[in-house]
């Protein structure tokens, strides 16, 4: 029975055998190991039976070996025939292909751009900006940059945006924005001291309110009070002195101290500078190529010639093509070929040290912010090993070290 099960899947044919004693033909078949089933004697000299599609090729051989029987195939059943039948209907097949293509086409179009979380005027601004990037209803989704790139560009181009989240959900672009609310910088209300944030030597002091506790050229540690907000009341308002004569001498008035204090601070940094470096620069010449990638094979669509650059920097950007919500294994690939040049730089030790100092200064400036001013630097230690110069630098900076600290009015 096992050999007959599943025959519908593999397909079978109904054979009509005509001749003297037709059952002998089927006997010959079974002797050869071919399974035959549903054998029926139709008339005295005809007999029909089913044979698996794979065994049909042996029938002719058997026919030749036995006496003359006439074979006629009177039925074809099973999936192979159904599939064949289906593929013979060309218009149907064409329609199916076209409809699939249409779905692929429609799945790769942006159907909606939703912007939430921002007021109307800003929404309009974002919409205009998106329009410039090519993100609008009806645009091709694989010509659009990836959501993270859009996010970055939007943040750069729309200054009113504090944050924007861009994500693609099927054919919809969802944007969630947060408006930047420009708030006046909040002054610490109430009494406060000014304290040091770093150790250093005070260079300049300008106190507009409060009692200075340190002087120029004083050394301060972090947390030291520079300007106190506690003013003895007599000193605070001299006009009222007479009236408040009776008041306790220790009574103080608390105010918000204000002032600018710059101090000299020191930093120790380590830098390593290689004596020879390679770097690449792009010359600005570039060409774009477009291709469709299926699996690992790329089919170029546009840009067949390779540009005649000596050195090429390739940048690939792949945009998947969607079918409804699924990503197809087909990708739209944009390759940017940019010409690049290699530069090999050999430095002498002196040059390397100079470069290291410059680099260290830049890094420190970046870390401290634009208000800080680097005054001087000193090389404490230098060694050369493995083609690298190691430097230990001591850098002196003038910077604002003030931090406002409220005075605790516990009682």
């Amino acid at each position: 029975m096992k050999r007959i099960q599943g025959s519908y899947l593999r397909g079978y044919v109904k054979v009509l055998v005509k001749g003297e004693r037709p059952e002998r033909f089927f006997q010959a078949c079974t002797n050869r190991g071919i399974a035959v089933w549903d054998i029926k004697k139709e008339t005295n000299n005809t007999c029909s039976g089913n044979v698996a599609l794979g065994d049909v090729k042996y029938l002719k051989q058997i026919k030749r070996e036995t006496n003359d029987y006439k074979l006629r195939f009177i039925g074809r059943k099973g999936y192979p025939f159904l599939i064949n039948q289906f593929f013979q209907k060309k218009p149907l097949l064409l329609g199916l292909c076209l409809s699939l293509l249409l779905i692929v086409f429609l799945s790769n179009i942006v159907w909606e751009v939703k912007i939430t979380g921002v007021p109307n005027d800003l929404e309009e601004k974002i919409t205009n900006q998106l329009e410039q990037y090519g993100v609008h209803r009806g645009s091709w989704s694989f010509t659009i940059d990836s959501p993270s790139v859009i996010q970055q560009r939007l943040l750069n181009d729309v200054p009113e945006l504090l944050w924007v989240g861009v994500h693609k959900k099927g054919t919809t672009y969802m944007l969630e924005g947060v408006e930047k609310v420009v708030v006046e910088e909040e002054e610490v209300d109430g009494p406060r001291n000014l304290v040091a944030t770093k150790k250093g030597v005070i260079q300049e002091m300008y106190v507009s309110k409060g009692v200075p506790k340190v002087q120029v050229n004083d050394y301060v540690e972090p947390g030291d009070v520079l300007v106190s907000g506690e003013i003895p009341s007599g000193q605070a308002s001299e006009g009222e002195e007479e009236n408040d004569d009776e008041k306790d001498e220790e009574e103080v008035e608390l105010i918000a101290a204000e002032g600018d204090i710059t101090a000299k601070t020191w930093y120790e940094t380590n830098v390593e500078v290689p004596l020879s470096t390679n770097n690449e620069t792009l010359t600005g010449n570039k060409e774009k190529k477009y291709a469709i990638r299926i699996g690992n094979i790329e089919f170029p669509i546009w840009g067949f010639k390779s540009p005649e650059y000596d050195q090429i920097h390739r940048e690939k950007y792949e945009q998947p093509i969607h079918f409804l919500t699924w990503e197809l294994p087909i990708k739209f690939v944009t390759t940017t070929l940019s010409e690049k040049e290699y530069h090999e730089v050999e430095r002498t030790k002196e040059e390397a040290i100079d470069y290291g100092i410059k680099q260290a200064k830049q890094e420190l400036q970046l870390h401290l912010g634009p208000k800080a001013e680097i005054i001087s630097e000193k090389v404490l230690h230098e060694t050369t090993e493995n083609g690298k110069v190691k430097l230990t630098l001591y850098i002196t900076v003038e910077e604002d070290i003030v931090k406002e600290e409220p005075i605790n009015q516990g009682d």
């Binding site: 007959i4 004697k41 005295n44 039976g49």
Partner: protein, 96 residues
């Protein structure tokens, strides 16, 4: 020589309780009501028509009679017959 072999086989069947159809290459016929006949170890079809099936066996023939016969399955040495079965007969070894 043949006689000797036959005796050994008979002895094995009796004392070791081996199935006789295997040892003696006899046909095994399974009948399910009047609906199905399942014959194993036959030696080929002799006659087949709508109301008769005669199979060659080791010795002689097996004749099955009835009506509306269909060979549901036909494999080497195996046949499943479907139809309305009226009688099963063993015929001695004579020319048809």
């Amino acid at each position: 020589m043949k006689n000797w072999q036959h005796r050994i086989k008979s002895w094995l069947i009796n004392y070791l309780a081996l199935p006789s159809d295997v040892m003696l290459e006899l046909p095994r016929i399974t009948v399910i009501g009047q609906l199905h006949v399942y014959i194993e170890n036959h030696k080929g079809i002799a006659v087949y028509s709508d109301n008769e099936l005669t199979l060659k066996a080791n010795k002689g023939y097996i004749q099955i009679k009835g009506s509306s016969f269909v060979l549901k399955m036909m494999l080497p040495e195996e046949i499943l017959l479907e139809g309305h079965i009226s009688d099963i007969k063993f015929l001695p070894d004579i020319q048809e």
